[in-house]
Subunit: 564 residues, 2 copies
């Protein structure tokens, strides 16, 4: 048996190591066009930002270790340029010597990854404009930014990598701006959650240019350049990081005549087998049915790639014994002091896909409030009416936000419901949680919505503007006076039972408090006292304030750009 | 409708608040014999230890807030002394005035909790001997220990509360000893995991007296006393904390003629209803079938109590609509720098219950090793042969150990398998995890055992002593020379393929490395090269060393005591 793997990072490296453990006697060749195997892809921004200071730490395995430990024939700086699926050969070129040769395979695994998108904008060739994919890019960016201490960095694209780069360049002391075409950072988040992240980024001195399109780049004096935005505004920059997205690297697969999917990735079946039975594929280059929407899509994440590697190797050696379940795109990112994560589908994407759902937002402490060091986190759930199946979860917080996201992700992945959240038996002691964990509370709140014990409304509900409805603020007078929704009447929760006669029974009542809990209690009191149309503000005044402020800011900026 | 709840902490307080949200118009009376409602039971040791400095923080809700917000008639310092299930009345005594009176109920909820066991040993009445159950105990202990700065504390009982008290008294600068009857700390852990905890406790200066029985107490000079151990050893103490366990507080239930269960707790059905249909019960005082063993047992944990409160209230108002699922006893404790937790059943308890199972131990980083601040954690799983159903999980680590325990607990609770662990799609970015999370790795390792790809052996396997088997150390010579298992032969993993002829084919081979990973790889190489009986040491040399050292220490101590 001879196995050939193309691509030695994440999925490819995992497949190779697992193949060896499953088949001690096979010949295994691992081709990698770059200099390094199995490096810490996800660590690259942190090495640029001097958070990781030792470059050697980026290398999880060396080619030498792969040979001595796994008896795998690793060939770095060797690019596979063609596959002949009929002859079962690959053509490889040694990039040191230029020598080209063929190798025969019994089974072939493709793990070519994804490549950053670099749009053909005027001036894109400027030497200060970078994309970040691999160690070579990293070395170049790291050495380049060192010439601009305290200089200006412009990040184009406010996705995960873009925001990690924003944090890391800020960590180096640079002045960082982020330009994003859409109206919010982090596309997988719904707007209110993104608004929280945007406020945090601004508080850390990062300038955000949302709804902003880059039309080109212009050299300025010295090494400087201007990033030109649609509308005419110029952003001066010493360094530009392009992080507008990646796409599956499929040219080799295409050349071999393998089937591509609708989303442009390599098609694979549930065994990770391509359209040719002797060729498997894993990682960022493949597409697979999303377990929630059913739509085929690529997943650009290291976790799924590594797990696919193991499944792929088992299937090759044992004969398609294992099925890949698809990824719900569980992803997380540290953004300065915040932890921001998502699993499953956002409400906006569910809407776009025509999938009916409820949304529930809760705000809870990372651990018992009486024990030092607790921080608050916002959890947003999307779930199906009727069954309560959990469809999506978003978390913005600090300590322990990752823990709750993992729990939510595991429920979504198993097709579980919001009832499962109410039953999670979390580990509780004061340093770690509360007697009711944030995921329990999220489940309780969702259950109340699902079982129609409460109705909610969102920050952008038209009723808040219409003037026809009663807007009821149940916070304390001090909270109310410090800022409220325009037109709101203040009746503190603890006075509500005594003041029911002050509330007209006919009109709908839109209740809110600071985070949603008192609003929920007030709603229960009103509903049980004959008020039929009572709605509680999802996420409370806090989330409303963040969302409306961020919306206004963005609109102002747009107008500014139009005026320019 | 009139609802009466007896006991205003955890389960009782939860039930009361939920009853109000579900039934705005009922009359609700909440009796509490102590001074406080809904206080932070689990925070008490930390207030004694000055980790929580503000006493007010211990009170989650005040009686006044319960009245104003929930319109609940809270009666503190009022003890219910009798229940008449036929008349549907309770007799209550106001402990301020001594006045006794009856109140009628439609539905009654018992949440009396559990009481610390105080054995009738000679000298137990000494004023320096305390148990810790409530705020009153806390105030007394806190003021008492302040008289002994740098003094000696003896904790009797090495369970969760005992070890929390050990840490907190050490935090106050006291010299702490812990006396425990059994051979290890923390009964829910298996011995090797407990050994890791014991080593950590010793490294923090806590003296452990295991296999040690207290026979009595003797006053010494001043306020001092001696704790007398069986065998004659005396431990001088300024303060003694008795934490040998608690038992359900059932005298009121017994008096009312309610059925008790086999384990001595109040019997309830799946709706949390006692043997009398108008009386429900929640919290530490009830017993319920363990979902894994099927045996009825009490659960002394705040999380389940709070969740029961919500279910109980729903069932009372809506008519037994919800079932309680039972608790898998998920519990966690901070022990100095360690986080130690458990869910489901330990291997020793599975053995005792005659439940067949495999055990697998892994050791992984809390997050990517290349990103600063990662720490290592040990995960031990117990799972069923055949199905792979997860039966128990134990975690000893630091950062993120709680996260993994929560994931494992949620799988156990749902009756999930070790395959579920391999598929968990955790949130990965370098500060939070690795591409393969510790729970994935635990699942992979368990799968290898379940599917017979590897066999393991434990630290106390007789073969290590017998001399008939080959013990193969596959670590580096440097690791081997720094300490190895007696009689082991050293062939480093990377040399193994070249030195297969040095290993006799007939004898069983007992392989080990430092943590188990290289041993696994070596086992795979040997098994595929015709060695039929190959076993890998579970947890590696590291866990073997901790287990054997702790065993020797305890035996030495026992001998010492016998000699004394």
């Amino acid at each position: 048996m001879q196995y050939i793997i193309i691509g030695a990072v994440a999925g490819g490296a995992s497949t190779a190591a697992r193949l060896r453990r499953m088949d001690e006697h096979a010949s295994i060749i691992l081709f990698e066009k770059g200099d390094y195997v199995s490096y810490a892809n996800c660590g690259l921004p942190y090495y640029i930002g001097d958070v990781i200071t030792d470059r050697n730490k980026l290398f999880v395995q060396t080619a030498a270790a792969f040979k001595s430990r796994f008896a795998i024939d690793v060939r770095v700086r060797t690019e596979v340029t063609a596959i002949d699926p009929v002859a079962q050969t690959v053509t490889a070129t040694n990039l040191f010597t230029g020598e080209a040769y063929t190798e025969r395979y019994d089974k072939l695994v493709l793990s070519p990854g994804a490549e950053p998108i670099r749009p053909p904008l005027p001036g894109i060739g400027h030497k200060g404009i970078f994309t970040l994919r691999n160690v070579a890019d990293t070395d170049v960016i790291k050495s380049y930014v060192q010439h601009f201490p305290g200089g200006k960095a412009v990040i184009i694209g406010a996705g995960f990598i873009g925001l990690e780069m924003a944090e890391n360049l800020a960590h180096l002391g640079m002045e960082v701006s982020v330009v994003e075409m859409s109206s919010q950072v982090m596309a997988p988040l719904d707007f209110p959650m993104a608004a929280l992240v945007q406020q945090h980024l601004r508080s850390k001195g990062v300038q955000l240019f949302l709804n902003s399109t880059v039309t080109g780049f212009e050299p300025k004096g010295g090494d400087r350049l201007n990033v030109i935005l649609k509308g005419g505004q110029d952003l001066p920059a010493d360094v530009v990081i392009l992080s507008i997205g990646v796409r599956p690297d499929t040219w080799l697969a295409k050349g071999a005549g393998l089937t591509l999917g609708k989303a442009g990735g390599i098609f694979v079946n549930q065994h990770l087998q391509t359209s040719h039975p002797n060729i498997y594929a894993v990682g960022d280059a493949i597409e697979f049915a999303n377990p929630i929407s059913g739509n085929s899509m690529p997943t650009f994440l290291a976790g799924p790639a590594n797990k696919q590697g193991r499944i792929c190797a088992n299937n090759i050696v044992l004969g398609n014994v294992q099925s890949y379940e698809g990824s719900i795109n569980t992803a997380i990112v540290k953004i300065f002091d915040f932890t921001v994560g998502t699993a499953g589908m956002a409400s906006k994407h569910l809407k776009a896909a025509g999938i009916e759902h409820h949304v529930s937002t809760t705000y809870s402490g990372s651990h018992a409030g009486y024990y030092p060091g607790a921080s608050m986190m916002t959890i947003q759930l999307a779930f199906a009416p009727g069954t309560g199946r959990l469809l999506g979860a978003q978390v913005v917080g600090q300590e322990g936000a990752d823990k709750r996201l993992d729990l939510l992700s595991s429920i979504i992945k198993k097709g579980g419901t919001i009832y499962d959240l109410t039953e999670i038996e979390h580990a509780y002691a004061p340093p770690f949680s509360s007697a009711k964990d944030p995921v329990n509370i999220a489940g309780f709140a969702a259950e109340n919505i699902l079982l129609n014990r409460i109705k909610t409304f969102d920050w952008d509900n038209a009723a808040l503007e219409s003037g026809d409805s009663l807007i009821l603020d149940v916070r304390t007078p001090a909270e109310y006076n410090a800022g409220c929704i325009k037109g709101a009447v203040n009746i503190p929760l603890d006075d509500l039972r005594q003041r029911l006669q002050d509330i007209p029974k006919e009109a709908p009542v839109y209740v809110y408090c600071q985070i949603g809990l008192r609003g929920y209690m007030a709603s229960r009191i009103l509903l049980q006292n004959g008020f039929a149309n009572v709605y509680n503000l999802s996420g409370g005044y806090r989330l409303w304030k963040a969302s409306t402020s961020e919306q206004e800011r963005t609109v102002d900026q747009e107008n500014l750009q139009l005026v320019d």
